[in-house]
Amino acid sequence: MNTIDEILDYAIDQEQQAADFYEEVAKNAETASMKKILLDFSEEEKHHKKILQAVKTGEHELTPQQEILDLKIADYLVEVEVSKNISYQDALIIAMKRERAAYELYTDIAARVPEGHLREVLDGLAREEEKHKLFFETEYDERILTDN
């Protein structure tokens, strides 16, 4: 992965894989409602993919300097298994953790490349993933951590 296009292609591919993953889980989900949720997640990933494709063609710019709120919810939760009667809570945990992993990956690589445009792109991607993580963490905070 040396050129920016290669990096972006990789990232785009990752989003597609995520979308495929949720579709696969959805296929096996027991109830229609859970299916719908997982397909929504898949759509969300496809949306991410579109953004990255737009970055590649220059229609959209990454924002490597942006501060993204980190609720740090995913960090301390247990790993959960994918199953056919997966709960909404667990589906969210899986999603949060996947976004977190992606974020860590890009941050990692960014640290190893010299400062410059390439690094900026990687940082930008990390921010994107962080945003996705925040999206799911906010949902988790709203719907699961209701404390009632």
């Binding site: 409602s33 709120l69 980190d70 740090k72 301390y76 939760l77 809570q89 906010t138 699961i144 009632n148």
Partner: protein, 602 residues
Amino acid sequence: MSLRDLLSPFYVWQRAFEKPYTTKRPTLDRPGAPAYRGFHINITETCVGCGSCHTICQNHAIDMVAVDEYVGRDGDSGLRPRFDYGRCCWCGLCVDICTAGSLRMSNEYAWISEDPGDFHFTAGIDDKPWQENALGYRRAEGYHLYPPKRITMPMLPVEESVNTFDEVVRGYDKEQAKKEADRCVECGICVATCPAHMDVPDYIHSIRDGDYEKGLQLMYRTNPFPATCGRICTRRCESVCPVGILGEPVAIRWLKRFIVDQVDKKDYPRILNEPIGESDFKVAIIGAGPGGLSAAYYLRQQGHAVTVYESRASAGGMLRYGVPSYRLPDVELDKDIEHILAIGVDIKYDTEIGRDISFETLLEDNDAIFMSTGLSVPSSMRIHGEDHPRVLSGLQVLADVASGRDPGIGKKIAVIGGGNVAMDAARVSRRLGADVTLLYRRRISDMPADDEEIDESQAEGVVIVQQAIPVEVLDADGTERVCIKWGEAKMVDDPKGGRPRPVLQEDRMHTETYDCIISAIGQSSDLGYLSSEVQDQLAIEWGRFKPVEYQHTMMEKVFVGGDFANRTADAISAIEDGHHAARGINRFLNPDAFIKAEMQDE
């Protein structure tokens, strides 16, 4: 006639050289005094349309009218006062009584128009030159036309309450209740907000009249759980009570309880004397919680054969197994339940659908089904070590205590959560003799628990640690103890709006050892008794139902209600769900009758 008397009058000439009393400016330019009672101003954003101004106006100069700018919503009727200056006498009583403090008067007193219609206007809506006037009459601080403060509820002193499961709230006596009932302005805005739309102003009126039997009848029109709701209702009504805007809301819940307290259970059949209709239909109800029993009560009045299936040994659901007896004594809950059963509702205890009878059989054997099985599964925190044997669920602890079992919590415990279940678990634990620390991830002000519960918990010695996020459960020395690691949170504004969100500060971690940890962070539904095909047909989302009008589901015969079918998850909403489902089931079973009636209406 003295010379003096002839000369003295000529003194008037002296005045000719003094400053005249009159002013040269046109009198119209003279502003009224700062507190002058001039033309009316209404701050329409603050006004809640309670109509007290209309009620008090002795001249009938005020109408309450619908305006385009506002529609009815919780705490606002959407109406606004319209003044007829052909009748107004500028006494300002409307300003004095205004519950919202939105109505005032400007110090403007001169206004000329050729159109008499101009003198009939909706203050604050119709443009008038004095609307922005900063001066004028307003109600003085310390002057009230109704008592702004609530009558204090007698409570068990804390030093006693913490040692007993006796009811903490002692209830008003007749004198106190009458005084509290007197504070109601009878606007009826609360009725819209009450999930069951109870006739609140009417039963409060019955207290003022001392006619408690009428009060009871009024309550049973919409709610067969008045003894219960009079104690533990979430009382959304009080949060919208206009009297609460500038003072304390009318204690609607305690007044409801007062009525029930005045009536002996043995007089219920005579007072209520519900007519039971004629019907050949059979209706099954799953779950004997407030939703199920409310549906049963109203369905039975139509004459249907109603059978309630309950998995536990007693009826009441969360009211019995979740709400501790110091808030709702069993005898009071039984007062409600026994009356429902007394009108001919059949109940099968210890009968679990899916285990003892299949859902499909029930569907086959009955003409309609109402399901209300609530949220019975405690949510998991999904943190490491959560499966430690010394991590208990709040629901389980409460159910144990309700059933007379020892939950075995130990002497030093932590409760996690900020809702009413967490408060109940904490206060029950205090009564069992434990030192209780309650960890909550947000601020106390964010807690979904009732403010009273929070205050009373703290008074009883529960230590609340706010902004504390549990991150891991660890083993402690010995199997009887457990450690929890938690981190301090700081509240960060969500850039997208909404309430501030807690963010863990990883450099501020704490670890503490307890005899047990009670987790009470939420519940979800247990729908294991429904096959996945049935679940799909019922269109369940995120473990919850989304019923259509009249609590109907996508399945023809099936109606649902209660915690798993609404977003408020409280007893009064479940009761209304049951009542509304009963209406729906009647329409479903007798479509012809309703269609006919509706055609007649048109």
